[in-house]
């Protein structure tokens, strides 16, 4: 329930918050859905296949509702889910590691998306534009990751929800 609520809330917040932030904001581009995908991983209690399925479905919804690129975000979210799984094998969950993981995942996601779009001829590759895309998404999402981590961690302790760090 906590997982579903977190994902739905983050998904809706992505759309709502975008109305308050300038389109070409240099620092505050929301990627809450992706961040929430990272936060909920420990709650799957090593049921990794379920986690990958959820990532794919979430990506598909992101595709249909926000970007109109059916299956593209789905594939990207799946790759990011694999990255989350890999990172979680190496680091334990705490505020510092969550912030670091958020930065790494956002950079991976933006780079991967931009590279693929350049590769298929959507636009020409410009490293400065890519860099701008990465750093404009960091600040707000890292803050969101920390807040979401603290809230979910508190809720899991309060309601005894099993979490594998």
């Amino acid at each position: 329930m906590l997982v579903i609520l977190t994902l739905i809330l983050s998904f809706c917040l992505d759309g709502i918050i975008s109305n308050f932030i300038p389109i070409h904001s240099p620092l505050l581009i929301p990627l809450f859905t992706l961040v929430s995908l990272m936060i909920v991983y420990p709650y799957f209690k090593r049921h990794e296949n379920d986690y990958l399925k959820v990532a794919a479905i979430l990506g598909l919804f992101y595709d249909i509702v926000y970007t109109d690129t059916i299956f593209f975000q789905c594939i990207l979210f799946l790759i990011i889910a694999f990255c989350v799984r890999f990172l979680n094998e190496w680091v334990s969950n705490n505020v510092f590691s969550i912030s670091l993981m958020a930065i790494v995942l956002i950079a991976c996601y933006r780079t991967l998306e931009y590279s693929i779009l350049s590769l298929v001829g959507f636009f020409t590759f410009d490293s400065m534009y890519l860099l701008q895309g990465i750093y404009s998404s960091l600040l707000l999402n890292v803050i969101y990751a920390i807040i979401l981590y603290l809230i979910t961690d508190w809720l899991s302790k309060k309601y005894h929800i099993l979490k594998v760090d």
């Binding site: 809706c12 992505d14 759309g15 709502i16 975008s18 109305n19 308050f20 932030i21 300038p22 389109i23 070409h24 904001s25 581009i29 929301p30 919804f61 249909i64 509702v65 926000y66 970007t67 109109d68 690129t69 059916i70 299956f71 593209f72 594939i75 933006r110 998306e113 931009y114 693929i116 779009l117 590769l119 298929v120 001829g121 959507f122 636009f123 020409t124 534009y129 895309g133 404009s136 998404s137």
Partner: protein
């Protein structure tokens, strides 16, 4: 045993390469082609955006109230400006009627089809803004149910902002002119004295909100602050919609053509309400 493993590895690499190639092909098709949304996509998009709209309503109410309050702060200044403008309105109305009458006559003589006068205005609210980041799109709350069709131009009071690219039943996606998309180029004209110079709007720099216009002959002098509008060439944008003003004129690397920097008249960072230009029923 070793050879078998080597062969298996080769097959694995081959299959992996084929899968990646297919995926890239699929993504290229999805991203670059002008596809329409399928019924399932439309249904999911409309349902999710409707629920998001319901959640957003109280927040929007507060946001609008704050905006209203801020506007009320300098209401007297605005009143004074508007009072002067109202005096001119009757004159403009009369002039407009006369011009419309003349245009109708001329259209009949010349058999013209698309003019700005023939468009209907449909106002829409922005539901979400550029969540794909690279795609430069916004979603609005009007769709095919309201008569919105693909490629319809979208404007705000300051000028043109883009065109409709995807339409579902109750929502549409607008591709902004700021998009880096190679296919997203429109033709524009620059007013130089009583003549027009034609060019192609080809790029956008976020810093300074500046467009680049290319394809202008080197022998034409373009003064600063000249007005840039759409040409009406092609099917999408009617003629005469404001794009911006000339900021700087540069010559290209080969000294053959000019590149003009145009400051956009629209603040793309703050789009809340937009207007779709619908072609009137009956006109082609």
């Amino acid at each position: 045993m070793y050879n078998q493993k080597k062969i298996e590895k080769k097959y694995f690499v081959l299959i992996g390469a084929i899968v990646i190639a297919i995926l890239l092909g699929l993504i290229a098709h999805i991203v670059t082609t002008d596809r329409s949304l399928n019924p399932l996509e439309k249904a999911v998009k409309d349902t999710v955006l409707l629920s998001q709209k319901i959640i957003y309503q109280p927040v929007k109410f507060v946001k609008d109230k704050i905006k209203d309050y801020r506007e009320k702060q300098n209401i007297y200044e605005k009143y004074k400006i508007l009072k002067n403008k109202v005096k001119e309105t009757d004159l403009i109305q009369a002039e407009k009627k006369e011009l419309e009458h003349q245009l109708k006559k001329m259209k009949k003589t010349l058999d013209l089809n698309h003019t700005l006068v023939e468009t209907e205005y449909l106002n829409a609210t922005v539901v979400n803004r550029n969540l794909g980041y690279w795609y430069n799109t916004i979603t609005i709350d009007k769709g095919s149910h309201n008569g919105v069709k693909k490629d319809m131009p979208v404007i705000v009071s300051d000028g043109v902002i883009g065109k409709i690219t995807k339409v579902s039943n109750f929502n549409s996606t607008v591709k902004l002119l700021t998009s880096e998309d190679i296919n997203n180029k429109i033709s524009v004209k620059i007013e130089v004295g009583d003549k027009y110079v034609y060019g192609l709007l080809s790029g956008y720099q976020r810093k300074g909100n500046v467009f680049t216009v290319e394809g202008i002959a080197d022998n034409i002098e373009i003064p600063k602050d000249s007005i840039v509008t759409t040409t009406g060439m092609g099917d999408n944008f009617p003629s005469g919609i404001m794009v911006g003003k000339v900021k700087k004129v540069k010559t290209d690397h080969f000294d053959l053509a000019k590149t003009v920097e145009v400051t956009s008249s629209v603040d793309f960072d703050d789009l809340s309400y937009v207007t779709i230009l619908k072609r009137k029923e009956g006109s082609n």
